[in-house]
Chain length 257, copies 2
Amino acid sequence: MEKPLILVTNDDGITAPGLRALIRFMSEIGEVVVVAPDSPQSGMGHAITVDNTLYTSKDDVKSPDGALVEYSCSGTPADCVKLALQELLDRKPDICISGINHGSNASINVIYSGTMSAAIEAGIEGLPAIGFSLCDYSWNADFEFARDAIISIVTEALQHKMPKGIVLNVNIPKTGPDVPKGIKICRQARANWKEKFDKRTNPRGKEYYWLTGEFELLDKGEDTDEWALANGYISVVPTQFDLTAHHAIQELNSWNL
Amino acid sequence: MEKPLILVTNDDGITAPGLRALIRFMSEIGEVVVVAPDSPQSGMGHAITVDNTLYTSKDDVKSPDGALVEYSCSGTPADCVKLALQELLDRKPDICISGINHGSNASINVIYSGTMSAAIEAGIEGLPAIGFSLCDYSWNADFEFARDAIISIVTEALQHKMPKGIVLNVNIPKTGPDVPKGIKICRQARANWKEKFDKRTNPRGKEYYWLTGEFELLDKGEDTDEWALANGYISVVPTQFDLTAHHAIQELNSWNL
């Protein structure tokens, strides 16, 4: 059987250790092409570049991690996927894998996530797609312990048909004894961020803010991604880009519009 | 009864005619505070500013359109809502209204929309929220014909409790004879963009791209937002930020993970 063609991207940029690890893992099971941002794009959500130019740069050196070819791109993660599929690749990939993100994209973080926006963009374009994130923000985090689980999830996704209109949001707990304990299919936990703005004054006397915040879990369910991660499991949430709240349509039809 | 406090924002920037019209309409039914980007933020999706500073500027001149106060902000639409709720406003608004966007945010466009990301951010923070978009990209589009419908939708949203975890994505057809014909509660149509990248060479000889594309409707349903708009109706889609595809959980549990 021909090896699957795997498009790898991320939002932390082409030099990120999480991406380099993912390229190595994916090269074990397929032919890998990389199109990733040339600089960090965390928090970009599903941004696309509409009013600015996009540059790409092809790496002519053989990829040290085993990819067939690597491109960096001046745009967002969603731009990378669009460029890959329409312009840069000779044939359609069999799957798009985004990550491994340095930091959690569980729960409400999926909304702000550049990693997941790349996967969702691929899903919109009809490709099976998975975003992987590690709940460890450090640049030198251990990714190797997650190798077997990541390969297993991608292999299963290639073998089964991905449910229509769905991409997978996979989060991996930080390494530790007996971690990961296993893989759980979950729902997205209800949560939000309690923002705090750090207000400062710049050298010219003008006030500015830094966005900071604390994660606030609002969900005690044991079927959520946050529960799975807190208990040492890898969480897999089937994530959709049809945002319609079908259950609310009837209620809205009772409004006097 | 005390007048409701209405937070108004958008993604086209604080000078956009669509925002100015929305401020006027909302001033008829409530007290309006504005926190909007200082420059256009179209296509920003749910981006937030994590690695950069945020500046705000308070307009000391009385708002010509009737707002109590107007702030412009250097960040994204989601940043504007976070700053408004945590830093800038004295009391919690009763509702957040985003728009009126110059251009459609129906169907899959909701994913890329800065207008809707502001509404979704407000929803995540527990506020009723609505995004309004007009299917006319021109800067001098007619917004006045939509006044009655917009006021009616916001008034109903203030009177009823918004269903939990839901914001409204409202799209308005371009003005014309017998438009709007009415208001329809809809689901998000299945669609995508067929990208075309316009490849050019800059004055220094380096190749670059412009993202362009054609909208491709993949849905023949008559209960969709695209159907409503094509037939002269205003579309209202209840939109959720729990992205879990609950129906796919069982199928994924059959995978060998």
